[in-house]
């Protein structure tokens, strides 16, 4: 079996064919796993009317890295699906919030666990499921619920992606991925939910057969494209944030 390499030479090449109107999932949680380089390439590529799916639209902290808020500012986004469309503390403001308040960009606010499970469902061929989350809240108003064993649950639908951008620690040429610590977060779910998964990789990409099959977090069959992140400043890497008490 001759393994074809999934390695691309540049971020620009890896995102070149992303079409207007695509649903793009962007992994990461508070830094680790966030595909800064792919997001930057998508800013340069210019696809429009995107639906962006992520935990947050970003931009709450300094230094600011490429995020969904920037894609919105760049006029590329029709809608976001996130667990944050505003900051948790009223005194903070996310760059995205004003675009949502003004109606320039639409948003669907989804509890974080439901967001994760909806992508997991899409990747697992489950079209819909019930969850206890958000029952009795504004988010459940007018929606279908069901009582199972005496408890009320909300019906939620799978959330498939056209494209997933994720960041991994290690990869082989077959697309098998390994994450380090909190880098994993949404990334494996987005890889399974997407038709096209593009990964920025921190360590040198190794030949297939090099990684231990027991220690793979995302099997290569879910991954189509890999790009090695070059050293800074050409490549974007997480930098230490100012220590925060919030």
């Amino acid at each position: 079996m001759a393994r074809r390499s999934k390695v691309f030479g540049s971020f620009a090449e890896a995102v070149k064919d992303i079409a207007d109107g695509s649903v793009v999932g962007i992994g990461g949680f508070a830094g680790p796993g966030t595909p800064y380089n792919l997001t930057k390439a998508l800013l340069e590529q210019g696809a429009k009317k995107l639906t962006c799916v992520a935990n947050t639209t970003g931009g709450a902290h300094q230094p600011r890295m490429p995020d969904i808020g920037m894609l919105v500012e760049n006029g590329q986004v029709a809608k976001v699906i996130c667990s944050f469309t505003a900051a948790t503390r009223p005194t903070d403001t996310l760059p995205f919030t004003k675009y949502y308040e003004s109606g320039e960009c639409d948003a669907e606010l989804v509890p974080q666990g439901t967001l994760a499970e909806r992508m997991r469902a899409a990747g697992a061929g489950i079209p819909a499921f019930y969850t206890p989350t958000a029952v009795g809240t504004e988010l459940a108003e007018g929606r279908e619920t069901r009582v199972i064993n005496g408890r009320e649950y909300l019906l939620e639908y799978a959330l498939p992606l056209d494209v997933a951008f994720i960041r991994a620690w290690k990869a082989d040429e077959a697309g098998n991925l390994v994450f380090r610590l909190a880098q994993r977060n949404f990334c494996p779910l987005m890889a399974t939910a997407a038709t096209l998964t593009i990964v920025e990789v921190e360590e040198p990409i190794v030949p297939a057969g090099t990684l231990d099959p027991d220690l793979i977090h995302v099997p290569g069959i879910f991954v189509q494209r890999l790009v090695k992140i070059p050293p800074a400043p050409e490549g974007l890497w997480t930098v230490r944030r100012e220590e925060r008490t919030r």
Partner: protein
């Protein structure tokens, strides 16, 4: 750290951490709650769970000692405890929804004496910030809330009914403010403990619902 009456932020976190029982799995939310993992809990075995899939972490690390791949729910670089394990977001919230979190500690804008609380949307806003709060509030065995007792203008955050959209209903078991520790009991709050320098009349004056001793 604060000119306010009673406990400061770390003291509130320390006070809540005293409630954690042997063997508990504890989820700490963004803000003051994340400070609980800095509290010395003696020889109790507590497992801190962060919504991003980190199971078993410890104190926030000082500048220069951080591992940039490792953050808690608030994005702070924490240390790992022995026996830690990492899972993805779906599995992390599977742990939450399946009722394995003994307590979740969160911040809030308002807590009602009915056990309702609100922490995701402010008055007049179109959007909000839910994060993992609704999942945690719906399915953790207990919800503890840490918040300043009043807004800057003196308005009580402990109320009879939430004015803001709720995060979950009837779930709050314990509230810690700068003034003390309170339990929602329907018509009002039972006072479990008052912070040093705070007496019941002062606490009642700052509270929009009855306090019971």
């Amino acid at each position: 750290m604060s000119g306010k009456l009673g406990w400061d932020r770390q003291q509130m976190a320390d006070r809540i951490a005293r409630e954690f029982q042997e063997g508990w799995i504890v989820n700490l939310g963004v803000g003051i709650p994340t400070m609980c993992s800095n509290t010395d809990i003696g020889d109790r075995e507590i497992t801190y769970h962060a919504e991003n899939g980190v199971i078993g972490y410890g104190p926030v690390l000082p500048m220069g000692q951080e591992d940039l791949h490792l953050v808690n729910a608030g994005g702070q670089n924490v240390s790992l405890a022995p026996g830690a394990a990492i899972v993805n977001h779906a599995d992390s919230f599977g742990i939450i929804r399946s009722g394995r979190i003994d307590v979740t500690v969160m911040g809030a804008y308002e807590v009602a004496s009915s056990g309702d609380f609100a922490n995701w949307k402010v008055a007049g806003a179109k959007g909000g910030g839910i994060g993992g709060a609704m999942d945690l509030a719906a399915s953790a065995k207990r919800v503890f809330i840490i918040l300043e007792h009043t807004q800057r203008n003196g308005t009580s955050r402990l109320v009879r009914h939430c004015a803001l959209p709720v995060t979950a209903r009837g779930v709050v078991k314990l509230v810690c403010t700068n003034l003390g520790v309170f339990e929602p009991v329907g018509e009002g709050f039972r006072v479990r403990e008052l912070a040093p320098g705070v007496d019941l009349p002062a606490a009642q004056a700052a509270t929009a619902t009855p306090l019971y001793a």
